[in-house]
């Protein structure tokens, strides 16, 4: 089964208390989000965007071995 690396930032890291972890057996970003919300219910009302291999995605995206998925709360640089 393919391993997906998840990395988190900002308030998302605080909510789920994990900076980086691996999930297995997940094939796309919609399934991943359903899985993560089950594991970490506080994510349900978190504003975030999702990047797959450093590109922000706008719709359900296929994941494969070694995909890197980043959970990005609203940016606040500057």
């Amino acid at each position: 089964m393919s391993k997906i690396k998840i990395i988190t930032f900002g308030v998302i890291t605080d909510k789920i208390n994990e900076k980086e972890f691996v999930v297995e057996g997940i094939n796309d970003t919609d399934s991943l989000m359903i899985y993560l919300i089950k594991q970490y219910p506080s994510l349900i009302d978190a504003k975030m965007s999702i990047a797959v291999n450093k590109n922000i995605i706008e719709q359900n995206t296929a994941l494969s071995e070694n995909s890197e998925v980043a959970l990005l709360p609203p940016f606040s640089g500057g």
């Binding site: 900002g10 308030v11 990047a51 450093k54 980043a70 990005l72 609203p74 940016f75 606040s76 640089g77």
Partner: protein
Amino acid sequence: MQNKIKNIFIEGPISPSKIADAISKHQQQTEIGAHSIFLGQVRADSKDGEQVKAIEYTAYNDMALTTASKIREELFAKYELTCMHIYHSLGYVSAGEISLFVFTSSKHRKAAIDACEELVERLKKEIPIWGKEIVSETKSLWKENQ
């Protein structure tokens, strides 16, 4: 040269002398007639009666650098620029200190001014950086850009 991925991050605050150095370095380029600079300074905003002491910045570094590089390329294509520099702090920056330094140069003023403004807007929207406002040892708040 515009296509190379450049580091934009500086650990801690950006000092005024770094800004002076960046300006000095452009004095050999005598085709430049205009520089536009934007600086972001950490505000001591009030949060329920307490003041923000500092902002602690973190970033998704790889994505931040590739995004900054893409924005650079697009702005070089759009405006007649001679130079463009972007610096952002990581880590702890106290209120009153500078965390963002953006610097564009061109022959005539309009290109530098317009590119600088667009660069600041795009950086704030597109670059994955987060600021945590430190109010006290136990209290902090994640900032959100307007």
